[in-house]
């Protein structure tokens, strides 16, 4: 049997607006049990935030996105965490990851223009101690974000009544 907490998280991951009452119905538990469990998950930091998945391209937000990969050199007192956490503090940066392969750290950045993003990378990131090189990939189009498909495609229809 699956964990109660996992079941709650699965529902919330799909719909952050689901109320404890609604979740209780879906999982066959009491509202109090669900509220208590959610509170615990919030307090322990499993649930970080309730967000809305937005397809900004649809309303032409004018933002430019880029994926930036970094090679870094490590020093005795400065590991990956220190650099990554430093990058994460910039509000322009949306996600930061330590990765395997040709590069060490990858992050996504949002800016008002390509110039904006390029300057951010050269001025704020490339100059950080330990950053050896940067490689910036501007995003041209997003097809899927956070497990959600962003393109519109006619869905095949089911027959209305079948056996």
């Amino acid at each position: 049997m699956r964990d109660f907490a996992k079941e709650i998280l699965e529902v919330l991951e799909e719909n952050a607006r689901a109320t404890p009452g609604e979740i209780a119905t879906l999982l066959g538990r009491s509202e109090e049990e669900v509220s208590g469990e959610i509170k615990g998950l919030e307090e322990s930091g499993v649930i970080r935030k309730y967000m809305t998945m937005i397809n900004w391209e649809k309303i032409d937000d004018g933002y430019v996105y880029a994926i930036v990969e970094l090679k870094v050199s490590l020093h005795r007192d400065k590991g990956y965490d220190a650099i990554a956490e430093r990058i994460a503090r910039f509000s322009e940066v949306q996600s930061v990851r330590l990765i395997s392969g040709d590069h060490d750290i990858s992050f996504t950045v949002r800016g008002k223009s390509m110039k904006d993003v390029a300057f951010f990378v050269t001025e704020k990131i490339a100059t950080l101690k330990g950053v050896e090189s940067t490689c910036t990939h501007f995003v041209l189009k997003s097809y899927k974000e956070h497990g959600v498909i962003l393109y519109d495609r006619a869905q095949p229809k089911r027959l209305v009544v079948t056996a």
Binding site: R2, E10, V11, L26, P156, V160, V161, T162, A163
Partner: protein
């Protein structure tokens, strides 16, 4: 005028006037007398309407998981388009043997105890045709899937519908069919988890009927296509009972569990003699199940478990949501334990199943199948599929609520509605 001309003319005149061509007279009486599926009849009304919320759909609202579709596409690209052996792809029979061993601890030889069919529907038809002689009787517990009775008839058998009851959670009890057994009774149909009621049979429930089965030397044709969608506890097959595997033709498929209705893949497990006989009919009618669908099925059986479980968890939530909302509306509903249907009673409205469904459709554009489509004992119920999004379920509930309120208002002016 020459003789030749006359004879030519006479020929035309004397040629027997052909009887008026009546195609109906050329129909098989069995088929002619067979009523169309109640679902079909209802479908014809629905299809004309727009903005209908459908609770009438007997299939998942998920598309087939992508890795399964992709496996099929890859195989097609490779030109894998020939027939398979009549029995089905050896690889598919092997993975099925492994999976039935894992799920039910039942041992079937992929060589001669497993047959791949074009959907479970074909497997049901084959099971009857391979085992029934003219006049042999088959016990069919109802309400049930619409095809069993016609399939028995087509095989020359005599269906003996028996009613299961709401008070017994629509489980089949020995007393339901003991009185229907006679020397011509050859087989018993089991279909649990059940469409349309959502009933399941536990091991104890099955054991209770096993004695009757053995005493009367019955064959059991067990359609377990909803086995993976069992919500409380683990599915038990009749074939798992001691000594029952040899008397059971176990039918299953991927349509419901893996969201693969359109692929038409089913399978039968059973004694080599029966599977062999079914294979004979299958080879003369179907040859083999579609190759590309069999390839996809291998992928589904081998690597589909996680998605099956994820879909099941989602159905389970919708089930709770839907049943709790029905309760709120005051429509008595047995809590379904399997499949993806709720089967609420509408007897309190004073309407028949068909009246209720038709009026609900016309007034509020919600499609739910009248219970009597699944046998006489389904009268007084409607089948609602919750294999639809939570938003649609809630919208449908709102509409049903309004419909019931209007019925009640009208009740004051004559049309009686009392809540049970």
């Amino acid at each position: 005028m020459t003789d030749g001309q006359i004879s030519e003319k006479n020929k035309k005149l004397t040629m027997a006037k052909p009887a008026l061509w009546r195609p109906e007279a050329h129909l098989s009486t069995t088929v002619r007398d067979m009523p169309p599926s109640g679902i079909r009849k209802f479908f014809d009304i629905v299809v004309e309407m727009e903005d209908v919320i459908s609770l009438g759909v007997g299939e998942p609202d998920f598309p087939t998981p992508w890795h399964i579709r992709e496996a099929c596409i890859y195989s097609l690209e490779g030109g894998n388009t020939s027939y398979t052996s009549n029995k089905g792809l050896p690889e598919l029979r092997e993975v099925l043997a492994e999976s039935v061993e894992e799920d039910l601890a039942l041992d079937y030889d992929p060589e001669d105890e497993i047959l791949i069919t074009t959907g479970v529907s074909e497997a049901v038809d084959l099971a009857f045709r391979a085992t029934l002689n003219s006049g042999d009787e088959v016990i069919v517990p109802q309400p049930c899937y619409v095809a069993y009775v016609p399939d028995v008839l087509l095989a020359g058998g005599v269906p003996r519908p028996v009613a299961t009851r709401l008070s017994e959670e629509f489980k089949l009890r020995p007393e339901d069919f003991a009185g229907e057994i006679n020397e011509r009774t050859k087989a018993l149909v089991l279909s649990y988890p059940n469409n349309p009621t959502g009933a399941v049979m536990t091991r104890e429930d099955l054991e209770e009927i096993a004695d009757l089965v053995v005493e009367n030397d019955l064959l059991v044709i067990s359609d377990e296509v909803y086995d993976k969608l069992t919500y409380d506890g683990k599915h038990v097959s009749f074939a798992q009972l001691e000594g029952m595997q040899e008397r059971t033709v176990l039918l299953n498929g991927l349509s419901k569990s893996s969201a693969m209705t359109g692929w038409r893949i089913g399978y039968a497990f059973g004694d080599p003699a029966i599977i062999g006989a079914m294979t004979k009919v299958h080879q003369y009618t179907m040859l083999c199940a579609p190759t590309m669908a069999q390839v996809a099925a291998v992928e589904a059986v081998r690597r589909g478990e996680e998605e099956v479980m994820a879909m099941k968890r989602e159905y389970d939530r919708r089930r709770r949501l839907f049943v709790s909302e029905l309760e709120r509306l005051g429509l008595p509903c047995f809590e379904p334990k399997g499949a993806f249907y709720a089967f609420p009673s509408i007897q309190g409205t004073g309407l028949s199943s068909e009246e209720f469904s038709e009026e609900l459709l016309k007034e509020e554009r919600v499609a739910a199948v009248p219970g009597n489509a699944f046998g006489e004992s389904g009268e007084g119920f409607i089948r609602c599929s919750y294999a639809t999004s939570k938003e649609e379920i809630l919208e449908a509930i709102d509409r049903i609520e309004r419909f019931l309120a209007n019925l009640e208002a009208r009740g004051r002016s004559g049309k009686g509605i009392k809540k049970v």
